[in-house]
Symmetry: C2
Subunit: 122 residues, 2 copies
């Protein structure tokens, strides 16, 4: 019996919309999600959890209230719980997010228009 790997670039080729994370795997009560980001997101924080960003392709700036972090392909960054942040991508960036199941992408921001549906698998 052959088991199957999950190839990140293959999964990323299956969708094109921005700011709509797709679940690709679970690790206990955590999820791996892929997303394509472009433009400026909303300032928000996740009071209940850290959030990991891994850059698969492109560049992402995460603005923080006291500065920023610039991420490129192969970079990992963990936004600590409760820390306000705003992802900004001048060009499209492809990222993997790792966070507990059920986390809302807009966190504590009151931005229903930007809030993505959860539990969308590809």
């Amino acid at each position: 019996m052959t088991h199957h790997a999950i190839n990140l670039k293959e999964k990323l080729s299956l969708f094109s919309e921005h700011w709509q994370p797709k679940v690709i795997a679970e690790l206990n009560d955590y999820q791996f999600k892929l997303a394509k980001l472009k433009g400026e997101f909303v300032w928000h924080s996740h009071p209940e959890t850290d959030e990991a960003f891994m850059i698969i392709r492109g560049q992402l700036r995460i603005e923080l209230r006291d500065g920023y972090v610039d991420l490129k392909e192969g970079d990992l960054y963990v936004v600590p719980r409760g820390v306000e942040h705003r992802p900004v991508a001048l060009e499209e960036v492809q990222v993997m997010l790792i966070e507990p199941k059920g986390i809302v992408n807009t966190g504590d921001a009151n931005e229903q228009d930007l809030t993505a549906e959860n539990e969308v698998w590809i």
Copy 2:
């Protein structure tokens, strides 16, 4: 204030030993670890947790009691909790592991010689 990304390849250049995972980041009570693997590991399982493998460079076969999974660069695979597995790498492979803090690399196998020290950060 500029915050700093964690670059996986840069971190991987800092060590050369095999089967000795190094912690690079924490996400709540989980850790991201980098490891270089070569050869055959021991059959083991982690009765208390799933374990994620992400391939940064090279190829890895994970043998399972009912088959195997072949992983190449950019692949992700989650070994479910309690599932016996044995990583095998003909040539060196560079991987990122994601799992809860404190997990012993040899799991339930009684193999002290192969058991790596935990909480080694790079």
